[in-house]
Amino acid sequence: MNTTMPPVQPGRNAAPQRSLFTLGAVLAAAGLAAFLAGLLGPHPQRAWQAFLINFLLWSAMAQGAVLFSAVTHTVKARWTGPLSGLAGAFAGFFPVSLACFLILLIGKNHLFPWLHEDLHGKEIWLNIPFLFTRDGIGFLILYGTGWAYLSQDLKLKFGTSAAGGGLRRMLAGRIPQSDTDIQRVQRRKNLWGGLYCFAFALVLSLIGFDLVMSMDPHWVSTLFGAYHFVKAFYVGLGALIILAAIVHLRRGRSAGIAAAHFHDVGKLFFAFCLLWADFFYVQLTVIWYGNIPEETSYVILRTVTPPWDALAWVVFIVCFIIPFVVLINRRIKTMPGAMIALCSIVILGIWLEHLLLLGPALNHAAAELPLGVTDGLVFVGFLGLMVLALAYTLKTFPEFLPPGGEAPR
């Protein structure tokens, strides 16, 4: 049922132009400037907080988008069309994400409140060396499997005559010649795809526990890990839809992304909107009902205590209410413009949600929200990085782009 796509020569025109790079560079620069300014400013920990939040958010986006490709491939969903290809392009952000993770190490004193308090034995788990080692390894595994999966994918797309630079060669390795080769690559692709999905669940749970939950070292919620990776997939889909929409808008029907594709991925996005809300509610109910201060105090601080209560409502409305109400409508899912707007809103919402989770731990007894220009600029900076990463990947591997001129299914 799943035969290899016919090797296609993507029209070079599909590749992003130079302007895109400059745009990305400018944004990134702005972000960097703001970040550095913040570091030198009176509240370095605010800058670090912004950095951590955006690192989590944008990495999640990349990881989630790639998951889309891997998952749909693993379950042999046949409706994805060119989307799964596009999703692969987000892997370009992996190196950036890895780099940012290492940068966190520099800001550890600003980032990990538990460094300064008595953990009653939790030090075994919560200590910088161990934390960075295990999470680092986690990222390596995740990104490794991701790339392995995509490289197999590329091999099949390159087809026999793979022109192009060293990186292409390096990544793709030997291009399959015979059918038997293709079979083998297929099998590898399946394997790595499956592994990526598995790694995604494990590693993102770990990150959720380590970089978000442990910021309040006395609070635990067993669902938190799952909540974190569902969130990642949610934003990942958002990002993917945005990218697809942009491509569609730029290249029209020739991009081969049909309304049906937008509709289906839109439904998936909708589904994960609900799932996110579900996981949110599931945790809230259990903790609210149990009424054990060890658990409730964390939630109370973030949901009913100013200034955070307002933020909580915003997050809830932006991440759930709005998409829910909008996406009930069938037709909206097929309108790229509208979807760009919606997905952007959701991504912003999740960005605020990270602030809601981390903020209270990082700013004790904050009178007003620790949210300012710096945070905004750092966000923009990461946007720039993402643009760069995507532009570069798509330039080097136009195969990720939908093969031009193919009639929509």
Binding site: L284, T285, W288, Y289, N291
Partner: protein
Amino acid sequence: MPAETCIMGLFKDDGKAAKVILDLPAAGFSFRRAHSPIPSHRILEALKLRKGRVGWFTLTGGIIGFFAGFALAIFTSVQWNLIVSGKPIVSLIPFFIVGFEFTILFSVFGNVIGLLVCSRLPDYGGLESYDPRCSGEHFGVLAACEAGREGELMDFFQKKGGEVKVFA
């Protein structure tokens, strides 16, 4: 007005059936009904029907259910007004569960009602001028012609490669 006869053309393939439906008017016959063992997109497209209105019933049901659920929970707890576990008498977080379940329940009721109403079921009368084969492997197109043109209509169907069944 002269008596009409209904004649059904039975086709093994919904493509043919759809084609027939498209051609009937040109041939001057009036289309009555199409029977099929499965929901056939080709036929439905050929008929150019607006999509069903079941959804509205479902939606209405859902909205009613949502408020009914909350209303029940809140009303009953206010009636007795007992504190349990120190929880507020009206605590919306848990009541949402009731609200949610009722939403689903009532939407489904709405859905079923909508289904019955829109597709006019139960309808035991509808089984006259119906051929059992239509639940098997045949797609039946029921067309009417004024008395005297039965022959033409049969030929028409046969030409399109279908069997014919005449209902007096």
